[in-house]
Amino acid sequence: MRLITIPKEKYEDYRLKVMFNCYKWDPQFLDNNTIAKYALVISKKEHEELERLTEDMDYETRKAEEILNEHLEITKILALPKKIKKELKAMDNYDKDKHIRLMRYDFHPTIEGKWAVSEVNSDVPGGFAEASLMPQAAIDILETNKYWYRNFGEILTKAIATKVVSGGRIMLVHCTSYSDDRQVMQFLGDKLKNMGFDVIYAATDHVRFLNQEAISILSGNEGKIDAIVRFTPLEWLIDIKPKHWKGYFNTNTISCNHPIAIYAQTKRFPLAWNMVEKFRGKFTTWKQLLPETHEVKEVKNKSGYIYKPACGRVGERISIKEACKEDEYEKILKDVKKHPKQYIAQKQFNSKPLVSEDGEKYHVCIGSYSVEGGHAGYYARISQTPRIDSYAADIPVLIDNEK
């Protein structure tokens, strides 16, 4: 795995292309440029390994969520938000063949020469356009045919087209006030529209459910919906008033993702593994890749552990001391003490930074997608600190043709 530099004289063109042709509408975060000046090249061998590990973990995850859904008594340890817990029973009609399952597993190279997985983005993984269009933009700028990439957008839309009736109405449910949500949906929407689907951009409360079927109430776009692609996280959805969101949990309308995703989305998912194994669940690949994970109280006074919020996203509130800004670290510890069930303790792995051609060191997180159990491409970010958060830069992943 290596970083290759986008030629300096071509970088501004590349950045513009990424913003205007690759749906990257948030190119700056505080003082940080979020479009990397590099591309990440992985070898054929690394790609094959990541592909296999992703598919194996995905199999284990989907099997586990079915078991958890059938045995709600073992979900207690997940400490899911009360409002979600109340709706779990409604998911007893979940049929995996009806819906589209999308996940992204975050891999990190370690100094031991292995991979570590920090989490699965089970509910609403992002980075769609970055994983689909940025690699081609980089290949064009580098003027090379040495690399290829797996186009995530092609795979996801193909999976949608397999299940949704031709020309059907697809609602892209997201927080309409956030342009960084819209950029993800707009990429997908434009692609689906080109395939002949009727696309609606809307918010969670624009959906009502009648006889377990979704209906749009968005002005000028009322009527039956054939599929929902949701980008609003479940833990935000349940705060919406009035409570029309309940229907998402037992709808027969094709959903990507269905709320079944919540079981693996919580970082407390590994705490349920022992019990899932009693029902023939297996976590062989997960255990090989995920650092030891415990309840907060079990690691009291032990060094080498970090705390992660159960419902955290984009690296937020993870207690990696060297990556925390100002008094953030102390604030996290205070919150962990106050709400231990809302966190997990995890053995910190030693991320191995890559060194760029200009001598800069960068930590890497390679998000590896799965769609319906198959590997579906990569979304990667680099950062000068081991925590990959909103300050990180997006980097296209290219696969070496030869090695």
């Binding site: 509408w25 309409t176 006030s177 918010a203 409360d205």
Partner: protein
Amino acid sequence: MLGKDIYKIWTPIEANWIQWIRPVPFVQMKDQLENNEFCNFTIPNIHYIKENSMNTAIIVDLPSYNSIKEGIALAKLGFRPIPLYNGTNEQTGATPIIDNHPIEIGLIWGALELEKIKIGINAPPVFLLDSNRMHRFKMDVSTFDNSWDIYAQDMPSAEYFLKNGIHKIIVRGEKIQKDLRKILYQFQKKKIKILFTDGYKEPEEIIIKRPPREKNN
């Protein structure tokens, strides 16, 4: 001209501060120049500042494209206009809370004006915001909510301002809105002076009270 060409006029590569210009309205632009007959693009007179001072940044928080007009007027005084508009367009056929299209028209108009103005590469910034952004009133649940907030991450940090010689920020608007208040409070904590003007009176220094969310920290 395409949105990308308009964006390039607003963002000359060598200039400071341009990295914070949000591409959102530019990406959504269509060729709307011919539809601008309802917009009044008279450049206003600026009464509250005579010329640029290298240690002062301005935030213009006025409704819709009025902030662009004022940004162009300030560009003539030597400031670098930095549009921070982040609102998305509505789903076709839906009723939106905010009409962002006049801002897109304003940015096209502004680009043509900017081409006539020479601004120094290290010119202090004037950030442009639409004060309608936080209108949250929905006539009906079926309305498309494209209101938006400005967040700390959408602007430079206090450290960046100070490093670039900015010690004062003037807010020009009708009031200081809730979202901006949170950001300005953090700047104030880092010893950046905050001033306010309604556009007529001289800017006066103000003290931003700790926003409610901050109280728990």
